[in-house]
Symmetry: C2
Subunit: 452 residues, 2 copies
């Protein structure tokens, strides 16, 4: 980990008139890179006040930021703090990022596949907030497993076993942290350029040469509209390329929970079942697509990449890597053999059987909030979570249900919560005579090349 | 002066989620009156942070506020502080406001005409900032004249002589003061709804039943575009009417200095000359139009109103009222007889004669900044001004100049300033063979009825 603050120091000497810069963005102008850098540096050193930055962000959200501006913003975030140096690792470094969704446990499958194929995976992850889960919370549901590694421990673990998944330290992208906290309270989150620069600054500061992105779209994603998700994905890839990295993105469906599990320990249990060959379905399919897309960035042909990812999963090498990861971070590796015994389980389990019909549209965000309401997620950053609770989806959009057939299994901390969840489900999952076709899993690919 | 804080107290109990309100305005929605009131009350009591309000203001500036929202905003500003009660005065109360310009000394003529016609004029005024002058600074250039009256003194003076012109106290519209300070540094000034609610909250809190507005447009005005000025004027009148007051507005030209004087003592000298019948021209014409528009609001027919205003000016009663006003506020009333002797004068006076040609376009804002640069105005609120300096315009757009004929007379504090001003003038006033037609003085009228 090395500190890079050159830009921040150099630029704060430029003469700065914040109201003029804000007014130019308000009037739809594109800022020159030097003046935009000076404005961001001014925010870091206190010349630009919080109320000026929030007005600027709102103006940019409504008037738009150019691609060049997004690149400058990302660069300023990276250079505001420390960056991870992975250059001494053997083999290509790959990072993977998802914009977040409901039942999105891909990292627990994709990262081990990548490492099993010879890539070095130094993954800095986040925690869940609102209706979406976070990889760190999921890993911590494995008894003993820690995600709080020092920079030194993190680096050594990747050197040794090719993989580590840990919390980002406070020293990474501090400008992004400040801007994100400001955006969160000022209605300035949903801007492609702001989201892209936030996501990519963390990925680029993380040091990997190759970056594969999973941009979610649909009613459970942060960005509901597919066109906007495509725009965001393109922008993220462009930012990575402007910084000399190789990147590709998939725009994927989040109009229903991705995996059959929502909730921390439950998602880990399902991930283990996918790794050990006991579970298939669209979640496994997407993990293979993402892993292949990442591997293809390292020079493998797309078909080779897919074949290698599939072999790593089917041959059990990905499962071995996951086991090593858990053990290295202090967790109980027996989770691989007996997930439902090793992981904490909820005391109250109940099935919801809505009657005969076909499964139609789902309120995916509502399902995420349901899991959060059961205790699986946080409303506020400082909230505690309950790793045991959540639900399993037995069905997906388009499936046919018989009378008495369970559609959802609830894992609750008590009977009160169970009854609350059973009462909510009919509003969240449509069951009718007509039903609906299942949505496509992958809407679009940006960068890289398609496998098969 | 009575305190009204009912709304602020009542509304702060409403549940408030500032980021949600900001996001709705960002997405172009109109807020319900109750939630908008709660948001503004939350800003007053600290539940809405400065950075949230600035993002909200930027969203509203770009997405628009409805007329109803502007009314609610004005109301919240009024009820945030104390209001002036003029109900015990004999005769109709009239207030006059200009959005500000260069050489705009109308208040010194219009207010005495109104009072001479039997209206009660309790005028709270402002100071100059940037390229525009302020009535308070002009009055203070009369030796001894004070504008810092207590609420009691102010009220008593109006009761006694029908007119007072003073600085607004800190207790009037505190919400407007906070919002204006925030807008000033966050690029959120140029919004019709924000300007209208700021202007009208002060007028309505000032207590007059009848309000006449002079909305300036052209390159020396805050709002350059005539259509936007018209929109602002309409909105101001609508806000006044929603609050049960009678209002009318003129949209008038500010593509050249209004009067032949720019600078505090110089403007007072010219105003005295108009009042005493020694000076005519478009400045005098506009003063009569504004006064007639104000008087017509009180039930006089438009022609009667104009006739009465003209008689008050030509018959010398307006001059008498001005003399009484000056004396009541501690100033030397001999300014009426010998203005250029009583008023402070600049030590260095020089004429600019640009040569033969016709007067074309002027950079009116630049001329205001020229006066300010000579010392007549302020860059920052805390700056001192020099009452002596400024310039006299001998010509207007469309006039023909002979060789050696002076176009502008500079009044400077020293020779350095004089030379600087002489050097600037050729860039600010176009002299050519072609020239230009003089612009219309009044672009539009809103409310009231046209005289003659």
């Amino acid at each position: 980990v090395c500190g890079l603050r050159i830009q921040g120091l150099t630029l704060s000497t430029t003469r700065l008139d914040p109201p003029v810069i804000i007014a130019r963005k308000r009037d739809g102008e594109e800022l020159r890179p030097d003046e935009f850098r000076a404005f961001l540096a001014g925010y870091l050193d206190g010349q630009v006040a919080e109320e000026q930055m929030s007005a600027f962000l709102m103006a940019g959200l409504l008037r738009g930021f150019s691609r060049e501006e997004a690149v400058v913003m990302t660069e300023a975030m990276i250079t505001s703090g420390e960056t991870v140096d992975l250059s001494d690792l053997r083999g290509p470094t790959i990072d993977k990022h998802s914009t977040g969704g409901v039942g999105d446990t891909c990292t627990l499958i994709v990262a081990p596949i990548l490492a099993a194929c010879g890539a070095q995976v130094a993954k800095l992850s986040g925690r869940g907030l609102g209706h979406t889960g976070g990889t760190l919370d999921k890993l911590e549901s494995i008894p003993g497993c820690s995600v709080d590694l020092t920079a030194e421990e993190f680096h050594q673990q990747v050197s040794k076993i090719g993989i580590a998944v840990a919390a980002a330290t406070q020293d990474i992208v501090p400008l992004d942290k400040r801007l994100y906290a400001l955006r969160d309270v000022t209605g300035t989150v949903p801007s492609s350029a702001l989201i892209a620069s936030s996501v990519m600054s963390k990925k680029l500061a993380g040091g990997a040469e190759h970056i594969v992105l999973d941009v979610k779209t649909g009613n459970g994603a942060l960005i509901v509209d597919p066109d906007q998700a495509f725009e965001l994905a393109e922008l993220c890839v462009a930012i990575a390329e402007a910084h000399g990295r190789k990147a590709a993105a998939l725009v994927t469906d989040m109009s229903q929970p991705l995996s059959h599990a929502v909730g921390n320990a439950i998602e880990v249990a399902h991930a283990v079942e996918v790794l050990t060959g006991q579970r298939g379905g669209r979640f496994r399919d997407l993990c293979l697509e993402i892993a292949a897309t990442g591997l293809a960035l390292t020079g493998r042909g797309p078909d080779d990449a897919y074949g290698q990812a599939l072999a790593a999963l089917e041959g059990g090498r990905a499962a071995e890597v996951f086991s090593e990861l858990v053990a290295a971070q202090g967790g109980n590796p027996e989770v691989m053999d007996r997930p439902w015994e090793v992981l904490p389980t909820a005391p109250v389990v109940a099935d919801w059987a809505p009657g005969a019909g076909r499964v139609g549209a789902m309120d995916t965000r509502g399902l995420g909030e349901l899991a959060s309401g059961l205790g699986a997620g946080r409303k506020h950053k400082e909230d505690d979570i309950d790793p045991r609770v959540g639900f399993e989806m037995h069905v997906g959009i388009g499936d046919v249900l018989a009378v008495g057939q369970p559609a959802v299994r609830i894992h609750a901390a008590n009977e009160y919560d169970r009854d609350w969840a059973l009462g909510r489900l009919p509003d969240l999952i449509e069951i009718s005579d007509e039903g609906q076709s299942p949505p496509p899993l992958v809407h679009a690919r940006i960068g890289g090349a398609r496998a098969r």
